[in-house]
């Protein structure tokens, strides 16, 4: 508990925390709104997945969440603060757990705001671009089961991304390297499936890519063609985050700071 309070004080008193959370919300909503404004459905049968378009800002907003997560651990290594932290709180697992708990709470809060803003923006913009009931698109609403799953899943997705970032940053102890690594894991792995023409390899790579698999939770249409189901995809991301945290945690315990 002591660790949680200490970490909260540290995170709360850093001005960058507030700005990063704000930026994450703003970027997510802006990109979602832009995507909704760009895509149009002039006639029936345009095969777009409306909730997924409305939530596509998550793909950009997650970058800010990664920064926040990486800095919460990597920043301490950059300034040498980590030595003070570990002197005051020698139980390292508890320190990492406190960081993870706080990050999860903060990104879930910011993620909820971002997702609600995105859905609202898409709800207002999409009907103007032909996403109307006549073309097979009822107005976006969280009362709709799959849409609610997509929205709630996106919040969980952002929280898991934060945990992955924290784990990697703890493992490599350097913000720059950690950010490069996490962005590589997310963005580069996400394009790999499109670069191989072999369908078996393509689907396999899609399934293990944290971003593709994790964002499967946003899909509400053509579910049968997805290489991995919505919740199973989120589990793939959870496995990545768990592996990252475990590696980070083990190295954190075993290594000198």
């Amino acid at each position: 508990m002591r660790e949680l309070r200490a970490e909260w004080t540290k995170l709360r008193t850093l001005p960058s925390t507030f700005w990063l959370l704000l930026a994450a919300v703003a970027l997510t909503v802006t990109v979602s709104a832009a995507a909704a404004a760009i895509v149009s459905c002039p006639s029936a049968g345009c095969r777009y997945d409306a909730p997924k378009i409305g939530l596509s800002g998550v793909q950009a907003g997650q970058a800010i969440v990664v920064i926040l997560a990486v800095l919460s651990a990597g920043g301490e290594y950059g300034t040498g603060m980590i030595r003070t932290t570990l002197t005051a709180m020698p139980r390292r697992t508890a320190v990492l757990a406190a960081k993870a708990t706080l990050l999860t709470a903060l990104t879930s809060a910011a993620g909820t705001a971002a997702v609600l803003g995105s859905v609202l923006a898409a709800r207002l913009i999409l009907p103007g671009n032909g996403f109307v009931p006549a073309h097979g698109y009822p107005t976006l609403s969280l009362a709709d089961g799959p849409t609610l799953r997509a929205a709630a899943g996106s919040v969980v997705y952002l929280a898991l991304i934060a945990l992955l970032g924290l784990g990697v940053a703890t493992a490599v102890r350097d913000s720059a390297t950690a950010i490069g690594l996490v962005f590589g894991l997310l963005y580069v792995l996400s394009v790999l499936p499109y670069l191989v023409t072999d369908p078996y390899w393509g689907r396999f790579l899609w399934r293990i890519s944290p971003m593709n698999a994790g964002l499967a939770v946003q899909s509400t249409a053509h579910l049968s063609s997805l290489p991995v189901g919505p919740w199973a995809g989120l589990c793939v991301l959870a496995a990545w985050a768990g592996a990252g945290l475990l590696t980070g945690g083990l190295l954190f315990r075993l290594r000198d700071a």
Binding site: Y48, Q59, A176, L192
Partner: protein, 513 residues
């Protein structure tokens, strides 16, 4: 302070920066990693690409090459006779109609409707024999692009905009004088307007002259479930009616012969989608399908450089840390003490990081392109052939793109002094637009804009096969076609790098370190 002194000073500072770079193990290691991931991912994606042509022997038919060495489609119906030396052919086209196969409404049931493709073409042609890929020049009416004169597959000249119908027929005339062919069009057969001239490569004295019809497939594009788009070409054919056919010149002892150039045979021996021609009372009716155009169906050699995205991220991290680490460790104060002209010191840093990343890029692309191409061919993929200069541009362009991105990242690092922000900024500017443009659900137009206005425009340097406006294909960024010409795209990237560097020099000079 002389100019020469300035150069010597820059050289001295660059040497100092080079010493810094090569003595930090992490940075050198980072460059090695950038090379390795680019090569590794490239070769991995190449070996994950297989294709086969089916059939018992699984041998792909040879793809004809045009006079310029490019892969071409050369499939049309040709009604022709021999022309010796100079001469001309004149015809009147009275109609151009066609049939198009639409996507099946009920699976398995063909839905063919009347209609003319925009690039359905019929007219007169002079060709070096009937071999696929042989040099030619042709004057034609098209479905929706008016009269065109085309030669040797890649060249296209527009004539009058009007179409052709019973009420408004169109006269076409193609003349040969030595190596030069000239095309004329006319609405009435008396007043002629020149469309263009052509010099097909190595035309012999005896050529084939005649009437032809061809029609590229019907292109449909639909949204793919996992992002991107799926394009499909379906069968389409064109039928043209000609009369007032007159050939002048040495046509001794020849009569009209019909040839279905490039016809593909089914396993049973019958021709798949045959063309045809009839002659009755001076009226020639010619039906053909296929296209006479550079081929777009095949892999491009730059496909093997897909690992560059990962390499770029590593390069961005190293370039940013190359300057932010100085701020973190306080080394920047020593650096600026040794080189108090801050703009020059920043330039030295930019020179070093650009040179190092360019060298790394040449190493990475120089290995990946030939090796990846070899793997793709071994896997049965058809690689569209390009000249050695294009290959060189792809390799050097990849290296240049890495260097420009590194300079941009360095400048952002100087402006922000925080690695996290600078790295994210550089990745968001260079890597993200490219990923969004090629794999997301963004519509093609939005993707094209992203690749026009962001520093990711420089990826255009990698495009080895140009897009031809006169050839029906889905020229999307996803398929490897960029909206800007290679050097124009690179200029956009360079512009961003120069702007960022200028901004960095300004804040570096204004600010305390």
């Amino acid at each position: 302070m002389t100019f020469a002194y300035g150069w010597r000073s820059l050289a001295r500072l660059s040497r100092a920066e080079w010493t810094k770079f090569r003595t930090v193990r992490g940075w050198v290691l980072g460059m090695a990693v950038a090379v390795l991931v680019t090569v590794g991912l490239g070769l991995f994606s190449a070996s994950g690409s297989h294709s086969s042509c089916g059939g018992p022997s699984d041998v792909c038919p040879a793809v004809p090459l045009g006079p310029g060495g490019e892969a071409v489609d050369d499939k049309f119906f040709f009604v022709h006779r021999t022309l010796d030396g100079d001469g001309s052919i004149t015809v009147r086209v009275t109609s151009l109609t066609g049939r198009i196969r639409l996507p099946d409404a009920t699976p398995g049931v063909r839905r063919v409707v009347p209609g003319v493709e925009p690039w359905a073409k019929a007219g007169v042609m002079i060709k070096d024999g009937t071999r696929q890929g042989a040099a030619y020049a042709a004057l034609m009416v098209t479905g929706r692009h008016g009269v065109r004169m085309q030669h040797d597959f890649v060249h296209d000249t527009a004539g009058g905009r009007s179409g052709v119908s019973q009420a408004a027929p169109r006269w076409l005339r193609l003349t040969r004088a030595g190596d030069e062919l000239t095309g004329y069009e006319s609405a009435d057969g008396t007043r002629w307007a020149k469309v263009g001239t052509a010099r097909p490569a190595g035309l012999p004295a005896a050529v084939q002259v005649g009437l032809f019809a061809a029609c590229p497939g019907d292109l449909t594009v639909r949204q793919a479930d996992l992002g991107g788009a799926v394009a499909a070409l379906r069968f389409a054919e064109a039928t043209a009616a000609f009369d007032h056919v007159a050939v002048r010149g040495g046509t001794s002892g020849g009569s009209w012969r019909d040839d279905d150039i490039g016809a593909e045979r089914e396993p049973g021996g019958a021709i798949h989608h045959p063309g045809g021609a009839t002659r009755a009372g001076g009226v020639f009716t010619v039906t053909g399908n296929g296209d006479i155009a550079p081929r777009t169906d095949g892999q491009m050699v730059e496909k093997t450089l897909s690992g560059l995205l990962a390499g770029l991220i590593v390069v961005i991290v190293v370039a940013v840390v190359f300057v932010t680490a100085e701020y973190r460790r306080g080394l920047i104060r020593t650096t600026l003490l040794a080189g108090p002209r801050r703009g020059r010191t920043l330039t030295a840093k930019a020179v070093v990081i650009a040179a190092v990343t360019f060298a790394a890029g040449v190493a990475a692309a120089g290995v990946t392109v030939p090796l990846g191409a070899h793997i793709l061919r071994a896997n049965g993929d058809y690689l569209l052939p390009v000249g050695p200069l294009t290959d060189l541009r792809v390799v050097a362009g990849t290296a240049a793109l890495l260097a420009v991105t590194a300079v941009l990242a360095l400048a952002l690092g100087t402006v922000f002094r925080r690695s996290a922000v600078a790295i994210t900024g550089a990745i968001a500017l260079v890597v993200l637009p490219r990923i969004l443009a090629t794999t997301s659900v963004l519509p093609v137009d939005a993707s094209r804009w992203l690749l026009r206005v962001t520093p990711a425009a420089g990826f255009a340097l990698q495009q080895s096969v140009p897009a031809y406006p006169q050839v029906t294909a889905f020229y999307s960024p996803q398929a490897g076609y960029y909206p800007l010409a290679p050097w124009a795209g690179f200029a956009v990237s360079c512009g961003y790098a120069v702007l960022a560097l200028a901004l960095a020099a300004l804040v570096l000079r204004r600010r305390d370190a």
